[in-house]
């Protein structure tokens, strides 16, 4: 069998990579991609804990499915916002989107 630590480390690494994407990318769509990576890392953790700690229950899987729903909602609204902003401002570079700043 695979030790639990392997999964957890992979999930932590994936989360950190996603975080880097969110912090460092200029493009708003790319930032959303980074958020997806982070959500995936969370899901790996949830499923891993379900498998190793409580395989008899369904808690981990239910949580994972809810995370899917949240990810879907986040992508839908986030991308809609990006598209809407793009239509008004003709840019998706996050640094240029300073309407709220003055």
């Amino acid at each position: 069998m695979i030790p639990i630590s392997w999964y957890l480390i992979v999930a932590a690494a994936l989360f950190s990579i996603g975080l880097f994407g969110v912090l460092a990318r200029k493009n708003a769509v790319a930032i959303l991609l980074g958020i997806e990576l982070m959500l995936n890392a969370v899901n790996i953790n949830l499923v891993t804990f379900w498998r190793y700690n409580a395989p008899a229950t369904v808690t981990g899987q239910v949580f994972a499915i809810i995370v899917f729903a949240v990810a879907a909602a986040e992508v839908a609204v986030g991308l809609a916002l990006v598209i809407s902003i793009y239509r008004n401002r003709k840019t998706v570079i996050a640094d240029d989107l300073d309407m709220m700043k003055w």
Partner: protein, 169 residues
């Protein structure tokens, strides 16, 4: 090292490697395709964890819908993607440092956890996982509320996104 460990390492390498490509590659459309590779790797990890249902959901929802939506969005907003030469902003060094520190912090935290040394997973129950999941989702004492709230959440997301994307066309 046994066979399943080798499989794990292969898929972990696929996941993390393509995740790195997602956050560093210049062309947005390539980033979207690398994301799909990452999602495949994660689905394979789920399959290794005997969570077949979650693995399939990963493919159906992420690869089948979310990735497609990302590609649509990239195509719709790509006019200036071509022009921007740099994909990373000026603070990417700090971001990298912060992410590395984050990973280190996670590693330290995890090492302190008692269960970290766990080598063997528990035995899977003989009953069908899907049936159990369905039962849990509609039993009031279990996950009925999240089940219905999820549909409300999706409704809200649909209405919000349609509203935002639809205005001033």
């Amino acid at each position: 090292m046994n066979a399943s460990q080798v499989l794990f390492l292969v898929f972990a390498a696929l996941t993390l490697g393509s995740a790195l490509m997602v956050v560093t590659t210049k062309k947005m459309i390539h980033a979207a395709f690398w994301l799909i590779a990452t999602l495949f790797g994660v689905a394979a990890l789920y399959a290794l964890l005997n969570a077949g249902f979650i693995a399939m959901v990963q493919l159906v929802v992420y690869v089948g819908a979310i990735a497609i939506l990302f590609i649509f969005a990239v195509m719709l907003t790509r006019k200036d993607l071509r022009d921007s030469a740099k994909s990373l902003n000026a603070n990417w060094g700090w971001a990298a440092l912060f992410s590395a520190l984050m990973f280190g912090g996670f590693a330290i935290l995890l090492r302190q956890w008692d269960g970290f040394g766990m080598k063997e997973a528990g035995a899977l129950p003989a009953t069908d996982m899907i049936t159990k999941l369905g039962t849990a989702l509609v039993t009031p004492t279990q996950y009925l509320l999240p089940f219905e709230v999820a549909s409300v959440l999706l409704l809200a997301a649909l209405i919000g996104a349609v509203y935002v994307a639809a205005t001033n066309k």
